[in-house]
Amino acid sequence: MPDAKVKIGFDLNGESVEVAFAPHKTLLEVLREDLGLTGTKHGCELGECGTCAVLVDGKPVLSCLVLGLACAGRRVKTVEGMAVSGKLHPLQDTFAELGAAQCGYCTPAFLLAAEALLAEHPKPSRDEIKQALSGNLCRCTGYVKIYEAVELAAARMRGERAEPARETLYGHP
């Protein structure tokens, strides 16, 4: 006899949803298995790598360490909620433009963590970016293009006409 399910309602990517699931499930599992949103990934399911990060009430959390139940009535944002009306979020656009997404597995978490950073600090320094993203591991990029993509998106979000530096794309002469 399977466990009795619990049902909660919350705001998911700007829409009200109701979902029923086994009470022991983490937010990560509820998103991927009960809501069919597989954009949120897992790297360890122990809270050690940041790969599962989503935003709850605007703050990055490790969804593998949050119970689904704890999200009742809260505002949850996943990578699926970043593009609006078919238009990429500026961060998604710069990640694609600079090649900051290589295998793409860590990308959803980095995008959301970066979005949360820019909401508080629209003009972050490189060090502030590094601090904000220090809880996210990436094995492909070495982080460099991620910083550059965040800086480029931040500039554009501030209304500036920003283009990537030549060295960013082609190296130094």
Partner: protein, 833 residues
């Protein structure tokens, strides 16, 4: 006819960055899969959910070395929700990536060889039930003495971990001689030997391995496996073999890999198990490894002990080199025989080595098996060589950069071990990092605690030989042209984040005058795509690229012919650009690409072309010559700036300058990403990554977690100043060579050399941890050797050497037969004097 000159066909106009002669190639391009990746739409293996899907879990051995005397699965089968349980007897046919070491069983048949070795498998309605069922499987073990490391294996030929192998627990022994090194040492002004160690590390991809098996019952009898694999073709062969299915009834689909780095290049237990469970239950079965299980899967960097002895003249020219390596292979073969040869193959491709001797041994030990990790067996010897040369430079009173510049291997030459060098841009790379870093002003000139170090390296652009011997192409591409002007390219290659799908689109776009986003790319599906051997050995851009260009050029010529007839323009005056085919002498005169395709299709029938690529045979013809040859070699030079705290031994690396000879950039943004990512991974190995085991406690992995196995976060990663050097190689597509592995190699030795420059101690091993630096500094203070590193290389019972005369001693690439060959070589050498 008029006096109009026949214009040379200018296929492409430089619309991209200044300096590139191509329209598409060489630019910084958005990848064709970039949007899917940034929107979370890309389906990795664990994102696949099929109706009525079951979940599988593996029971793993808690012992490092034991015989299985009994397994009782009866209680597990009674747990509600359990649909099937497998043990070794259900999959008795062995497999393994290399034909010479097919020593694995999907589930242990009679022995377990490391903690984590799979023993049984369960398929159940949920992961929770499958996990609970594992506890209900009773296994009785008879413990055997475990072998904890390579030295232990050398000392203890019994109990044997495997029934095969060159000697006792020594899996593979290699002994190769190219010329008389003793004579070379006698001619030297200085002879030096050093002992160094490179610890094992793992790939740590962010995506854990996952696979889904699905079975269509007879009369179809078709198995489909989706798997996060870099090598679907090799998995295809293993599935057919172990499951006893005709290969035509097996389909392997490589899902996009969330990182591979060589850790997803073997056929694995979990793939065979889900396939078998799908066949037994008639339902789709998924398995996803936990992060801890990924550590047990491993197939990473072999811990390698190395001894190197080199003779040099006063000006630094090498007269002879003798290199020995001892590899800790773990419990199974994997790619290990190739890894062993790789630890001895590329020493000769950077600096001229006229006489070379290599002895390599791989030991079986009771730990997770080692295999190919980015660089595959070459980062270890490159570390040893570059640190060794740093010491030699100091003894000679020479600048390390100058020492290297004076003896670079010339382009278009053969090495002592019969490797064919083509383009060779290392000199330009060294000059870039020397200039960019301010090397000359800073070397041996920085305040105590700050240091600068230099190292170089090279890597293959694709292994010259396939993993199983055959005479067929290494890569195949099929092209189809749609009447609407779109093109689809099919290739067996796998996208592991390196951008291989986009390479195909870029090259087709370049040749046919289209935009990469006009191209649909279908890859990594054994039903749909022609064979490509897989994403390993940095082969993909070169091999799929050449095959792709061939297929695209064949399509172009067919389309061009019919367009020429239609336009009444000589074919050689027609250019393909901006989705048009037009007369270069009168650009307004032309057709759209779509119109031209329709014309060709009406004339020829359905349009489809193929292209393929096979590397040329290697120059070496001796046993072992198959490892090392490549269509082209990339080159890298690195300067690392370090900060060492003498009180704690903590090493920080604020900046790395890296110059990489990539031949030609195909996608400039991808090249930058691969260089930066390689530097990152080299930094991780240099400072912190280690597969550590409790030798005296069951040989269990100490730290199988992302928290405790250290990899650099944003706070540890250095700044990277990148120089992309292009020395095009005629064997590469538009001259391209690799960039996905080469830039990793010079980083660990550059860091080690910088630490010496900073605080005067030699850390002759990686990772260069604070504890080691601290110990070395205290030794230095006490007047002892200012060094931390290995002290001895065990005596290995080497076999008789295979003697191969180098090219300049009249050799022909073959080994001498017994004594006659030596006499012949000596006679030839005597004639030359």
């Amino acid at each position: 006819m008029g006096t109009r000159k026949k214009a040379a066909v200018k296929e492409t106009a430089a619309v991209g960055r200044p300096g590139t002669p191509f329209r598409v190639v060489g630019n910084a391009l958005r990848k064709v899969d970039a949007t899917a990746k940034v929107t979370g739409v890309t389906k990795f293996a664990d994102d696949l959910f099929l109706p009525r899907m079951l979940y599988a879990k593996l029971l793993r051995s808690p012992h490092p070395h034991a015989r299985i005397t009994a397994i009782d699965t009866s209680r597990a089968l009674t747990l509600p929700g359990v649909k099937a349980v497998l043990t070794g007897h259900d999959l008795p046919i062995p497999f393994g990536i290399l034909p010479v070491s097919q020593d694995e069983h999907a589930l242990a048949l009679d022995k377990v060889r490391f903690v984590g070795d799979p023993v049984a498998a369960v398929a159940a309605a949920s992961e929770e039930v499958a996990t609970a069922a594992l506890d209900l499987i009773a296994v009785t073990y008879e413990l055997e003495r475990p072998i904890t490391d390579a030295e232990d294996a050398v000392a203890h030929p019994e109990p044997r971990i495997h029934d095969y192998g060159d000697l006792g627990n020594l899996h593979k022994l290699v002994n190769l001689e190219f010329g008389d090194v003793e004579q070379g040492f006698a001619e030297a002004d200085l002879v030096r030997d050093d002992l160094l160690f490179f610890e094992g590390s793992t790939h740590l991809p962010m995506e854990q391995h996952a696979a889904v098996g699905d079975w269509s019952p007879p009369p179809d009898g078709k198995l489909t496996l989706w798997s996060s694999t870099q090598t679907p073709h090799y998995v295809h062969r293993a599935l057919a073999k172990v499951l006893e299915l005709p290969p035509a009834k097996v389909r392997v689909i490589a899902t996009p890999n969330g990182g591979g780095f060589g850790g997803k290049s073997d056929p694995f237990s979990h793939e065979l198990v889900v396939a078998k469970l799908a066949m037994l239950t008639g339902r789709p079965v998924k398995i996803t490894l936990t992060r801890e299980e990924v550590f047990y899967c491993h197939r990473g960097r072999h811990p390698t002990l190395m001894w190197v002895k080199t003779g040099v003249k006063k000006d630094g020219a090498i007269t002879a080199m003798h290199f020995k390596s001892l590899l800790d292979g773990g419990g199974y073969g994997s790619y290990g025989v190739a890894s062993t040869y790789y630890t001895g193959a590329l020493q000769t491709v950077t600096y001229h080595v006229p006489r070379y001797k290599f002895q390599g041994a791989r030991a079986f030990t009771n730990k997770p098996p080692c295999g190919p990790k980015r660089g595959h067996g070459t980062p270890q010897p490159r570390f040893a060589l570059e640190v060794h040369l740093d010491k030699i430079a100091e003894q000679l009173g020479m600048d390390p950069a100058e020492l290297r510049l004076k003896q670079l291997v010339p382009p278009n030459s053969l090495t002592a071990n019969w490797l064919r060098i083509g383009s060779m841009g290392l000199g330009a790379c060294i000059r870039k990092v020397v200039q960019g870093s301010g090397w000359k002003e800073q070397f041996r000139n920085l305040p105590h605690g700050k240091g600068i170090g230099l190292a170089c390296s090279s890597y293959i652009t694709g292994a010259g030989l396939p993993v199983y011997w055959n005479a067929m192409p290494h890569s195949g591409v099929q092209l189809k042209c749609d009447r609407g002007g779109g093109v689809t390219v099919f290739c067996g290659s796998t996208e592991i984040g390196q951008g291989s799908d986009s390479i195909l689109a870029v090259l087709v776009a370049e040749v046919l005058g289209l935009d990469p986003f006009d191209i649909a790319v279908v890859t990594g599906d054994t039903d749909l795509t022609p064979v490509d051997l897989g994403s390993y050995s940095s082969r993909v851009t070169l091999m799929t690229g050449n095959a792709c260009i061939q297929a695209a050029e064949r399509a172009r010529e067919m389309i061009r012919r019919h367009a020429a007839t239609q336009l009444a323009v000589p074919a050689e005056r027609l250019a393909f650009a901006e989705r048009r085919i037009f007369d270069v002498a009168d650009p307004a005169c032309g057709l759209s690409f779509a119109e031209a395709v329709q014309l060709a299709e009406a004339a020829e029938g359905t349009i489809g072309t193929v292209g393929s690529y096979t590397p040329q045979p290697s120059a070496g013809k001796y046993r072992g010559a198959g490892v090392g040859p490549s269509p082209a070699y990339s080159y890298s030079a690195c300067v690392a700036l370090v900060d060492v705290d003498p009180a704690t031994g903590i090493v920080r690396v604020p900046r790395v300058w890296i110059a990489h000879d990539v031949g030609r950039s195909i996608n400039a943004a991808s090249v930058m990403g691969q260089i930066e990512g390689s530097v990152y991974m080299g930094l991780g190995e240099a400072l912190m990554e280690e597969m550590a085991y409790r030798g005296n406690r069951n040989v269990v992995h100490k730290i199988p977690s992302l928290l405790e196995y250290k990899s650099p976060t944003t706070l540890e990663m250095c700044d990277v100043v990148t120089y992309v050097v292009e020395d095009p190689d005629p064997n590469g597509p538009f001259g391209a060579k690799e960039c996905g592995q080469g830039p990793l190699l010079p980083v660990p030795p550059a860091v080690a050399n910088a630490v010496y420059d900073a605080v005067g101690v030699r850390i002759d091993e990686v990772p260069i941890t604070p504890e080691k630096v601290f110990k070395a500094l205290r030794r230095k203070e006490k007047g002892e050797a200012a060094r931390y590193g290995p002290d001895q290389f065990p005596d290995i019972p080497w076999p008789e050497p295979t003697r191969v005369a180098p090219p300049w001693e009249g050799g022909d690439g073959t080994a001498a037969e017994g004594g006659k060959g030596r006499q012949k070589a000596a006679a030839l050498a005597a004639r030359k004097r």
